[in-house]
Symmetry: C2
Subunit: 135 residues, 2 copies
Amino acid sequence: MSVPISESCIDQVLNTLKFTPDGLIPAIAQQHNSGEILMMAWMNRDSIEETLRTGHVCYWSRSRQGLWRKGETSGQTQQLIEFRWDCDRDTLLLQVEQAGVACHTGRRNCFFYAVREDKIEKIAKVEIAPEELYN
Amino acid sequence: MSVPISESCIDQVLNTLKFTPDGLIPAIAQQHNSGEILMMAWMNRDSIEETLRTGHVCYWSRSRQGLWRKGETSGQTQQLIEFRWDCDRDTLLLQVEQAGVACHTGRRNCFFYAVREDKIEKIAKVEIAPEELYN
């Protein structure tokens, strides 16, 4: 995606999207060329603006109540390839190029719990030790 | 996925997941063999139980405040292939076999708005007219 997106286009996007009463919208991050679903997080108007200006994905951290520039601490950044949303205008799909791993546990993606053969299993291995990601 | 999942496994799943104060959890539906993200909807405990018992995806409709057996009216059902969730235990990923189209607009998936060349575009075509889906 060639950035920055113009201010007038960013305004159009922000005006068409539907936010929760808290001003948030869920965003699914997908690796653009494999289809792998990496994570789900939340964005607000500011984080969408920053993402569309810079091409680097920025979420809103509900726990820290602040902008969450993905990879700022860990180096595991997400470059925006395509910005989509759904028919109800209340969910975003970010197609991205993920550097390294998306999950804070050091796994490639966050969706590593599965029901298999009537049991709960962890189906992905840790690729980078969390101590390495956050030191 | 071979169903029904046992009651004890369903209990384990329901006990590990984190629901919103309204008793809901977001669920991403992905076509299992292509990676296409079909839609995002919400589930509650009852809809998860029904889905894991029957293998047919059932959501919770926030607008109708009732169980939403996907495809019950339109015939566009989702067969559950794998049931996953994320590191924070607050988002589900359903890998499914989608019959026909997932979106109520008659498009294959709901994420058909995109920012391209500084404009908002609809990037997917209607495959089945909505009048045909809901008559």
